[in-house]
């Protein structure tokens, strides 16, 4: 028993749940906002990504972003957000174009083409980091796991004179809002081309245009989330809220709403879990969403058994 007690850190309700919302509210609020916005944007867009069976394209983009960032740094000689963002976005779009190109111009299937492209680009990025390592101030841990807490070290900037917030939180907020507005405005063409590309084409909606627009949007979201949650855990944010919500409902609009609820809940619980265990925030959020996925799965199994039990 003693051994197990050593493994689990002591839990102090006051310290884990109360103090962040009282004494450290200024900084904690922004970490929470960032966690929610990243999970919400990924979850919302992820719903379409998952149902179009492109879940791993997000994985590919998040890895191939590395050379984009390094090259942007070498060219601009700065760590400003804009060149970093453009470099990463360019790499993300290049990834989807290359996957498509290899798939169309050879007999290689999409999954293998995906594996070729993102590992190559990631390796290219690693080589660049090794070559110009002393010039590039890149932390490998940060690339892989992200640093959500970094938002508190930023100097807050004013937003429309209403309030002050860290720059990256404002940027992520804009991205999240853009994703939701675009999905709402183009909901029907998106739904149609995801469910039945043939009918969409016959109605003059080009599934290829929708596909590439979605890929570009995915690149924007992944690149924005990259700094906060890293290359690996962004996949959890893309896939888990969407799959969890899909287990709970059979209607797409409800599923989209549920991903936002899941984002809110997992950001809240994940942050407090990270405080308690003194662990990575992004990883803690992912663990919480995984827990929700298991709960949703179990509840679906239980309701099915109950329903079929009644029928007999």
């Amino acid at each position: 028993m003693e051994f197990w007690k050593q493994l689990i850190p002591p839990f102090d309700f006051q310290q884990v749940f109360v103090e962040p919302w009282t004494e450290y509210l200024d900084s904690f609020l922004w970490i929470f906002a960032m966690g929610f916005l990243v999970t919400a944007a990924c979850g919302f867009l992820g719903t379409f990504i998952v149902w179009r069976r492109m879940a791993l394209v997000g994985d590919a983009i998040s890895h191939s972003v590395l050379p984009g960032i390094v090259i942007a740094f070498l060219v601009s000689q700065s760590r400003d957000t804009l060149p970093m963002f453009l470099g990463a976005l360019g790499a993300g779009v290049l990834t989807t174009v290359l996957i498509e190109l290899i798939h169309q111009k050879s007999r290689i299937k999409t999954d293998a083409a995906l594996g070729i492209v993102f590992t190559t680009l990631f390796a290219f990025g690693v080589v660049l980091v090794s070559l110009y390592g002393e010039n590039v101030d890149l932390d490998v841990d940060c690339v892989l796991y992200g640093e959500l807490e970094h938002v508190i070290f930023e100097t807050p900037v004013a937003f429309l004179g209403l309030f002050e917030a860290p720059n990256s939180v404002l940027r992520m907020g804009a991205v999240t809002l853009a994703v939701m507005v675009l999905v709402a405005v183009f909901y029907r063409p998106l739904l149609l081309s995801s469910f039945d590309p043939g009918l969409a084409r016959s109605m003059g909606v080009s599934p290829a245009v929708i596909h590439h627009a979605l890929m570009a949007l995915l690149a924007v979201v992944v690149v924005s989330a990259f700094e906060a949650v890293g290359a690996v855990l962004v996949i959890a944010m893309l896939i888990f809220p969407a799959t969890t919500a899909s287990l709970l409902s059979d209607r797409l609009p409800v599923i989209l709403g549920l991903t936002l609820l899941i984002a809110l809940l997992s950001a809240f619980l994940g942050l407090h879990l990270a405080l308690w265990l003194d662990a990575s925030t992004a990883a803690s959020i992912s663990v919480v969403i995984f827990g929700m996925f298991l709960a949703a799965w179990a509840s679906r199994c239980v309701t099915r058994v109950a329903r079929e039990g009644f029928r007999r």
Binding site: W51, V185, F186, R188, P189, L191, L192, S194, F195, D196, G198, L199, R201, S202, M203, G204, V205, S246, S249, D250, R251, L252, I255
Partner: protein, 252 residues
């Protein structure tokens, strides 16, 4: 002035430079129920997909009611193969039928109550209105096909292109579908359906289009449904009578 519902000249489609259909010339008259027949790989689905631009043409042209397809897309209803979509997709029966209305709405238009009424009417006609709120994976094959048909009805088109509407459906659904197609025809609509069952083809369709990469024959069923033309379509090595005989031998 030729305003055929569908007119194709020298229509050619190739995948990876390998032709799938080659030099198809056809003028489809209005108000007919037409079956497209041919062996597997003959390009039956490709033909109707090429008409709608779902697969790119390598040569030739297509006109729908005298204009390029894109200008008259709203007058064409489409029923894809049932297996071409993911039936686990999180939409219900009503959502799917409403998709039939999307073509008239433009990219960002909103559905109105008249769209919902049209969708409900279409569901009523195929006997699926009680299932409107049902998730589409909880339907039988025949019910799924009826939903696709209702969606095409909701398109309120003048020309219907249907890809294997009778595959995997129960006898009751098959009878209901053919009755519905005849009703559409009586209202002056033109229907082309890809079909694979020879015995029923003879009774279902006014006209037959026999296809095996090239157009073998197109004309009234009684003129086209001959041993000679069918043999030409399905290949000399395999006569229809021999096929039927084979099946009898296997059963014994």
């Amino acid at each position: 002035m030729s305003n055929f519902p569908l007119e194709a000249h020298d229509l050619t489609v190739a995948y990876d430079r390998r032709p799938v259909i080659y030099g198809v010339d056809v003028q489809v008259p209005e108000g007919k129920l037409i079956g497209i027949l041919g062996p597997n790989g003959a390009g039956k689905s490709t033909l109707i997909k090429a008409v709608m631009g779902i697969v790119p043409k390598s040569g030739g042209w297509v006109k729908v009611f005298g204009k390029p397809f894109e200008r008259n897309a709203a007058r064409v209803g489409y029923v894809p193969q049932r297996e071409s979509v993911d039936w686990d997709f999180p939409v219900n029966v009503m959502d799917v039928v409403l998709m039939g209305r999307y073509g008239k709405l433009g990219l960002t238009g909103r559905l109105s109550s008249s769209d919902r009424d049209a969708a409900a009417d279409a569901l009523e006609k195929v006997g699926m209105l009680p299932f409107a709120k049902r998730q589409i994976s909880n339907l039988s094959g025949g019910q799924q096909q009826r939903v696709f048909l209702a969606r095409a009805l909701a398109q309120e088109s003048d020309l219907y292109l249907m890809d294997e509407p009778f595959v995997g459906v129960d006898a009751a659904t098959e009878a209901a579908i053919i009755e519905l197609l005849r009703e559409l025809k009586s209202r002056g609509k033109t229907i082309l359906a890809v079909h694979h069952d020879l015995p029923t083809a003879q009774t279902y369709f006014d006209m037959l289009l026999l296809l095996n990469m090239r157009l073998v024959a197109f004309g009234p069923t009684e003129e086209v449904f001959t041993q000679e033309l069918l043999q030409k379509t399905y290949g000399g090595r395999l006569t229809i009578l021999a096929e039927v005989a084979d099946q009898r031998v296997q059963r014994k």
